[in-house]
């Protein structure tokens, strides 16, 4: 049968890095910071994970270092967009660009290779039940993020900060602090996404290996309306479309068609969800300025 457990496994593996990054993106979105630098933060995570695992021999240290490095890297966005009030979109583009340059530069100066670093001695993450532990972590993160955002004090404050920073400030909640926290946590999650990609999905680093996954995460945030569960569904949709695409190649569909499939499916899903949303809320009137 076409839909089988292998397809699902494949989809789940493919979506893990996207899911982790998209959760980070969703937190930022909720805090009112538009984060399109997920791709770059993830790539920094990939490189740090591989290099740390290589030099220490421990993939776990690699994961830890990836989370820390990507969080540190995310400070560019935090300082630029929150403290200096720069344009988040421009900063996000720059964060992505810098990550490609920086990791390629370091790949050459640290490992002396260009393109790909791979070695049989490079320790990847162990598999538990067919998945890397970070896969389970990603799913747990969905649950945690859901509870955090909807029920936890921190989440309530974060949502308030994202919606009306002035109002939060008058109640003694520092929007800056919450925005920083959201960006840093997104950095951590992107770092984990990178570690999963480079030590879980495969065990190697290659230049620009995120290959657009960060952008998909950005789209997943929009499609999932920045809700953890929504983001999960969006990532799942994309993962399934991609995994199904692989299958369809086997049925003779040209590679170019299967390449395009996930994007078309995502766009179609966006059409449907936004059309429905607009049908529901014709009443909201004065929000035209807030729509981006």
């Amino acid at each position: 049968m076409f839909l089988d457990s292998d397809l699902l496994m494949s989809a789940l593996r493919a979506l893990t890095p996207i899911l982790l990054a998209a959760l980070g993106g969703a937190l930022c979105e909720r805090a009112g910071v538009f984060n399109i630098g997920l791709e770059g933060m993830m790539l920094v995570g990939c490189f740090t994970a591989v290099s740390t695992s290589w030099f220490t021999g421990s993939p776990w240290l690699g994961v830890l270092a990836a989370a820390l490095a990507a969080a540190a890297y995310s400070l560019i966005l935090a300082v630029g967009a929150v403290t200096l009030r720069g344009d988040a979109v421009v900063l996000g583009v720059a964060v992505n660009l810098l990550a490609v340059g920086l990791t390629s530069f370091l790949l050459r100066t640290v490992f002396g290779v260009q393109g790909t670093f791979d070695d049989p001695d490079l320790a990847g993450l162990p598999l538990v039940g067919g998945f890397s532990p970070l896969t389970y972590l990603a799913w747990a993160a969905v649950a945690v993020a859901t509870v955090l955002l909807s029920r936890h004090v921190w989440g309530l404050r974060l949502r308030g900060v994202g919606e009306a920073p002035d109002a939060a400030a008058t109640l003694g909640v520092s929007p800056v602090r919450y925005k920083y926290a959201a960006v840093l946590v997104s950095g951590v999650l992107c770092g984990l996404a990178g570690a999963q990609l480079a030590l879980g999905n495969v065990t190697l680093f290659s230049e620009n290996m995120t290959a657009g996954r960060g952008w998909i995460a950005v789209v997943a945030v929009m499609l999932g309306r920045a809700l953890p569960l929504g983001v999960l569904l969006a990532a799942l949709l994309f993962g399934l479309a991609e995994a199904a695409g692989f299958r369809l190649q086997g049925l003779g569909l040209p590679q170019q068609a299967t390449d395009a499939a996930p994007y078309i499916v995502t766009l179609a899903a966006l059409f449907l969800t936004t059309a429905r949303r607009r049908g529901r809320t014709t009443r909201t009137t004065r929000s035209s300025g807030a729509a981006s």
Binding site: R85, D87, A94, V95, L97, G101, P254, L270, F271
Partner: protein, 357 residues
């Protein structure tokens, strides 16, 4: 802009965020170089010599053609606060349309060239307009619709050139070479073609529209406050559609120029691999889409790209350094540069203009 440069203007220019950012980028880049044991002076010297020297200037100008073309394509909607992330798709469709026209047009060669350019522009425009329609009629944000539409376009072009349009016997996914004469004339023996003139003309037209026409004024004001222009009767959806179509036409033009220049055929991936779309976008963002600034930023990035490759050939410094440099400049500038998009009404902070001045 047309003021006589006096001392105040000079000091203002020196204190401008642009100068500051470029200098910061250069300094941080130098620290990187020292950190890896290289000589910053030699490296930067190699960048300058390799891009502006006699042997490099041709490459800089031909790279600059594509970078500037894409930068203009992305600047036009950006001026009104719209971000077109689908440049790659529009570029590729422009290229393939030009290739098909070039291969199958029954007209004499010079007319075919014109027709191919027009076909490229039309294809790019139509596809970009599709993204605008997604925003206007389905409420999918332009940023996302243009990005998502870009991938299928690239896949479509890839399919066409792999199967129906493939050059028989070639082991590459490429079309046949365009017939003799179906090419943009080059300057002397250089790689610089009339394409550069076309793009520079487009830049001039953009400058003129921006500063001297009513529609340019409306676009600028929309970028600063779209509710303001809507209130004054500027129709948002129509403007989005027209701006995106223009943007796509320019991207398509770059694609057509690429196909009508050496090697005179459409080769899968050749148009997008050098990343002109991203470089162009960053140039446009850097300049806040201001016409003159966009031209200067594009030239600056072309210099960095060509110079970086040359630096790698002559010194042992990886070319990624220039990419890092480019990104640092943008980070520094972005942190100080604010776009009026999405601005809250209560914001009264002065807005830094991204003009290079």
């Amino acid at each position: 802009m047309a003021r006589i440069p006096d001392l105040a203007a000079l000091s203002k220019a020196l204190r401008s965020p642009v100068t500051f950012s470029v200098l910061s980028g250069v300094v941080i880049g130098a620290l990187f170089l020292i950190g890896t044991g290289a000589d910053p002076l030699a490296a930067y010297g190699a960048v300058i010599a390799g891009s502006l020297g006699a042997e490099g200037i041709g490459s800089t100008l031909s790279t600059g053609t594509s970078v500037l073309g894409m930068a203009l394509a992305l600047a036009v909607p950006l001026r009104a606060g719209l971000i077109n992330l689908g440049g790659d798709g529009q570029l590729v469709l422009g290229g393939i349309a030009a290739a098909v026209t070039g291969l199958y047009s029954p007209l004499p060669a010079p007319l075919t060239v014109v027709l191919a350019l027009l076909a490229g522009m039309a294809a790019g425009a139509a596809y970009a307009a599709l993204a605008a329609l997604c925003e206007n009629h389905f409420g999918v944000p332009l940023l996302v619709s243009s990005l998502l539409l870009s991938y299928p376009a690239a896949s479509l072009a890839s399919y066409l050139v792999r199967y129906p349009l493939k050059e028989p016997g070639s082991s590459l996914p490429q079309t046949r070479r365009l017939p003799e004469g179906v090419a943009l004339p080059a300057f002397g023996s250089s790689t610089v073609t009339v394409g550069l003139l076309l793009v520079v003309l487009a830049a001039a037209a953009y400058w003129f529209t921006d500063s001297r026409t009513a529609i340019g004024y409306e676009i600028r004001m929309t970028g600063l406050n779209s509710r303001f222009t809507a209130y004054a009767g500027v129709e948002r959806k129509g403007l989005t559609l027209r701006l995106m179509a223009t943007s796509g036409a320019l991207a398509g033009l770059v694609g057509a120029i690429g196909v009508l220049s050496f090697p005179y055929r459409f080769l899968d991936g050749a148009l997008t691999a050098p990343g002109y779309t991203w470089t162009g976008l960053t140039a446009a963002l850097l300049a806040a889409a201001a016409p003159l600034g966009t031209v200067l930023a594009s030239f600056f990035f072309a210099v960095l790209q060509v110079g970086g490759l040359s630096m790698e050939r002559t010194t042992e410094v990886p070319r990624e350094l220039t990419q890092v440099l480019q990104a640092i400049v943008i980070v520094f500038l972005a942190a100080r540069l604010r776009f009026p998009r999405r601005r809250k009404s209560t914001d009264r902070e002065p807005v830094a203009q991204g003009e290079f001045a």
